[in-house]
Symmetry: C2
Subunit: 727 residues, 2 copies
Amino acid sequence: TELPRPYPNEIPHNEKLLSLKYESLDYDNSENQLFLEEERRINHAAFRTVEIKRWVICAMIGILTGLVACFIDIVVENLAGLKYRVVKDNIDKFTEKGGLSFSLLLWATLNAGVVMVGSVIVAFIEPVAAGSGIPQIKCYLNGVKIPHVVRLKTLVIKVCGVILSVVGGLAVGKEGPMIHSGAVIAAGISQGRSTSLKRDFKIFEYFRRDTEKRDFVSAGAAAGVSAAFGAPVGGVLFSLEEGASFWNQFLTWRIFFASMISTFTLNSVLSVYHGNAWDLSSPGLINFGRFDSEKMGYTIQEIPIFIFMGVVGGILGALFNALNYWLTMFRIRYIHRPCLQVIEAMLVAAVTAAVGFVMIYCSRDCQPIQGSSVAYPLQVGDAGELHLSPTWCACCLFCADGEYNSMATAFFNTPEKSVVNLFHDPPGSYNPMTLGMFTLMYFFLACWTYGLTVSAGVFIPSLLIGAAWGRLFGISLSYLTKGSIWADPGKYALMGAAAQLGGIVRMTLSLTVIMMEATGNVTYGFPIMLVLMTAKIVGDYFVEGLYDMHIQLQSVPFLHWEAPVTSHSLTAREVMSTPVTCLRRIERVGTVVDILSDTSSNHNGFPVVESNPNTTQVGLGLSAYPMLLLKDFRDAYPRFPPIQSIHVSQDERECMIDLSEFMNPSPYTVPQEASLPRVFKLFRALGLRHLVVVNNHNEVVGMVTRKDLARYRLGKEGLEELSLAQT
Amino acid sequence: TELPRPYPNEIPHNEKLLSLKYESLDYDNSENQLFLEEERRINHAAFRTVEIKRWVICAMIGILTGLVACFIDIVVENLAGLKYRVVKDNIDKFTEKGGLSFSLLLWATLNAGVVMVGSVIVAFIEPVAAGSGIPQIKCYLNGVKIPHVVRLKTLVIKVCGVILSVVGGLAVGKEGPMIHSGAVIAAGISQGRSTSLKRDFKIFEYFRRDTEKRDFVSAGAAAGVSAAFGAPVGGVLFSLEEGASFWNQFLTWRIFFASMISTFTLNSVLSVYHGNAWDLSSPGLINFGRFDSEKMGYTIQEIPIFIFMGVVGGILGALFNALNYWLTMFRIRYIHRPCLQVIEAMLVAAVTAAVGFVMIYCSRDCQPIQGSSVAYPLQVGDAGELHLSPTWCACCLFCADGEYNSMATAFFNTPEKSVVNLFHDPPGSYNPMTLGMFTLMYFFLACWTYGLTVSAGVFIPSLLIGAAWGRLFGISLSYLTKGSIWADPGKYALMGAAAQLGGIVRMTLSLTVIMMEATGNVTYGFPIMLVLMTAKIVGDYFVEGLYDMHIQLQSVPFLHWEAPVTSHSLTAREVMSTPVTCLRRIERVGTVVDILSDTSSNHNGFPVVESNPNTTQVGLGLSAYPMLLLKDFRDAYPRFPPIQSIHVSQDERECMIDLSEFMNPSPYTVPQEASLPRVFKLFRALGLRHLVVVNNHNEVVGMVTRKDLARYRLGKEGLEELSLAQT
């Protein structure tokens, strides 16, 4: 076969992908001719302006993300207060008459109703807003775009959905979705327009390309983590751990700036809202509360205990993930219609309410409100006035005056508050039986809830499960060691929470730092690191992390950090796609249209090759087609019109078009002998979408795309090949 | 000219560099044929063993770095105590007789003597141990190796040197050098042998290559930061900010592990040493002490004040750097002989002692030891018994009973303690005049000291200068606002310290996190970030950061994060070195020897090209030369014998050698039209040492080396070309 030669080039953007499920992003398009010409034209001063704009955008991302977090927090607080008041009034009214089952029914119905609304908007308006959004953002930063993932509409649905899920009493948190919200805000602001609103502010046009947008989305995700946990450094590390393969000092510094602004905005606004302006006491949506390092240090002897807790967390996390995997498979097979999804969500809401109610009723774990512990039950609802009274009373449910129901404390509160209570309530506040039952029930409820068609996060439920069994563990330890002072249940609750969350999500450095920042001191850094490390090692032995599992279930061509270790014997020749559809530099319009319309091609960037010098160049006459400018690409970015929408007449088809303008004149290439790890490294480090494989004579012999690389995976028995979705 | 073609290859290691000043490291040699064959042979289980070894090495790096830090701390404490006792005895004896000048003489002589020893060992035994070592480690992580920088001998001299400089009373810190120490420890352990000791333990042979060694050195540097400041996260970020261009989750996690182990080891050992085992209260060599966030929060109104302090820090930092630049130029020109260097160091030591003595005598800033402030002067020497009494008495120098001399507090203590005192002493402990004089004197002393031929760091002196003027600023503010409660001088001392250090070293994210971790809480994160950002922006307007300045003064081909922004119009053709010396795959030994011996070549990796297919291949008969194995390369790494040391007979010269074994069969290449930023990105992201430039026919037309890229720099008037040292 005759091979085209030399040099292989790419058309900057291809429109065919739009009708498909995923889109590969191109983080290396800065060298396309149009961009390159602009870069060459603009001078030093102009670059400085661009740099200043980047900082301004990051500040705006931080401020808006912080404000969105405040909005969610305040609305949830008020709606939850309202709901609790209604239920409480009814319980008060009906308990006297013995109509407890009616109260239960009302509670369950109310929750199911709220969740129904939350589920309907997600299922019917924007399904991509379901879940925490973390897997989607991981994919985006990795280079795979799921359609609609960074649209304004998604943000609106996400925010409303989270509020409704939390108010609906599901076993969910509002923290995870902040990451997605921050990312959408970043994508919107950095592009200076919104497709959902059909508004183009004609600003920040320089940033309308995949690379720049990705950088801002990283900043948005970091700002989201920062607002959620009051963890600006953790946010930066999250973005880097999940996304950026090429570390750049300036970029990281900007991401950190956005993170800091975000937590600062949240802190300021919530301080003002809670009436103690300027005291800056609410750095995140959840704050683990003050661990007094002097009172609650740890000793070297405890380290093996922490490691054991990590093992438990890893096993429980793996169990959680395995159960969720089967559930997700079931959902993919049977619950794919929106109506069914809404019904399932309502069912879960009703069951959650019923389980809580029954557990509170049956456990009757009444603890006296003693002098020492009085501060804590009062703290339960101290977030706002509305919230205070109903929760406080709920905690007295079915108990005598002067006592509170500790099961109710765990079930009735928002999960955030329950976590903090488990960390800080003094020893003796919880009955071991209560904690055991609660752990068991909440584990299954949280597992069932993750993957529902509602917007919600898994961070807080995981922490809560872990805090519950961790505290139980601490109590047992205290019992075994005859109440030694070092066996503080709160400390073990913290370690349990870390172990459980680590066992489920398998994050490493970023999670350690997030936990450190959320506890507000660095003393527990070392044990938290050990716990997370153990949980990850143990968990990885059984199944993947929850997010990776969901990414793989959707067969997204996700590139991990390194090529599988045993893949050195594979070469580019073996992994590449062939044959390659090439274009000539001067090409007939009809040919270009036909190639772009052909959906059967296995790659979507086309090498532009120069004809062999000894064949005669035919048809140099160029069409008088109006020139496409960089502006046109920017205006259309990222949704280019599909080729089918463009009518090309027969006359136009016969014209010739010069592709030099739209191609990258110096694409990266590899020889066909290059090993898979080498190709992989090039792809990952430079953020490529296509890589051209050439032979010794610089003739195009194949193309490596993301899918070609992503399908190799290290399984239990060595190298495996996966089947991936269409890209 | 006829061009060789196709494919261009490199010989894995070249020996010519050894006689030159710097060595470029190759972070992309994993594909050389010998390595590749090994990688292909070893299976999944073997890779797992390698991975476990990596973790073991990181743990060892952490433990040893922590122990070295402990050693430095304990020895300094004891020697300083001894010295102070001698001086104090003399002052007590002679003050009565009026022989104060004799005391001064004794003090100055003692200091000069101690510094002389410290300077002699550095100047005569291992000059690369001078300074903090941070610029050298930055270079190493960037890919340029300064000879001897990671040898055991360097570590020994460094540790002894630091101890002697600190004991000698110079305006230096022992924290910065920990980074270098950690790096040496890492390099030594990961290679499983020591050249200085001539011992090869025959372990960890897999890691004997530049890439692996670099990763461990990153971990060592992080462990050093961690031990110095009790800042494990800051350590990781320092390593990443200064070194790693390709972020890898597993690598980062291992670096974090080493950091955590390091601070934990230091903490445990020092706790035991100080007699309160298991309380883990000394996470770093310096700890900024507990800032009570409830008492010492900040309000939004203070933010403009902090930004102003950042501006001041930036200007003072730039002034410091500019003065130090002139001083360094002077030193390069006139003080290059070791004897002169030792004499200068002694002079500085004597002057420092004299200035301190005179200032204490003249200022007579006697503060009453009141009830409220009594806790603090007592804390001055609480680190050890030996230290306690002399310092305590020194602080009473020239004051009545029941009073202490606040100038003596600032001058007599170790700089670490002075910094902490400035942060935490209650308002009114210092006279503004004292602080002003101290700032002025210490600024010039520290500036004069940096660059001396002694091992010492600039972190702590910078913090001290900043803390002094920051406190002065806080006192003024308090005076202006009529003693408002928010104007706590300690808080402003902290911000001043951050501003001054940021203005001098211009680190960003990592420094923010280090400061956050050293203060032990996250409340001040936002203002510290703003201060550092402002200081950097203002400082960068005038001159470069101190470390970058010293790197540039030595004309090291250092690659920054990105190519200069205005370099898009330059192409590979314009920056590459030509002509290229190529080798054939089957080459005559004599030719290889001649090429390797030729020091005039402008590159040190040689493309191996295949002869044109239409020329006849001559001399296929291979020599029966004993095969070189991967083991031989590993045993020699990193100091390969120079070609001059190998005797090649005339007969041997006529033999043919097959280079396939030693070359990289699929090197990265770029077309000559590729722009400079593109080439730069490839170099930086993949850690290359050479990049081959080819034409459309895949024929070698040039080579791009680190030096070709490093010489382009963005100056005030646009793109500049630098002259660089031989590499």
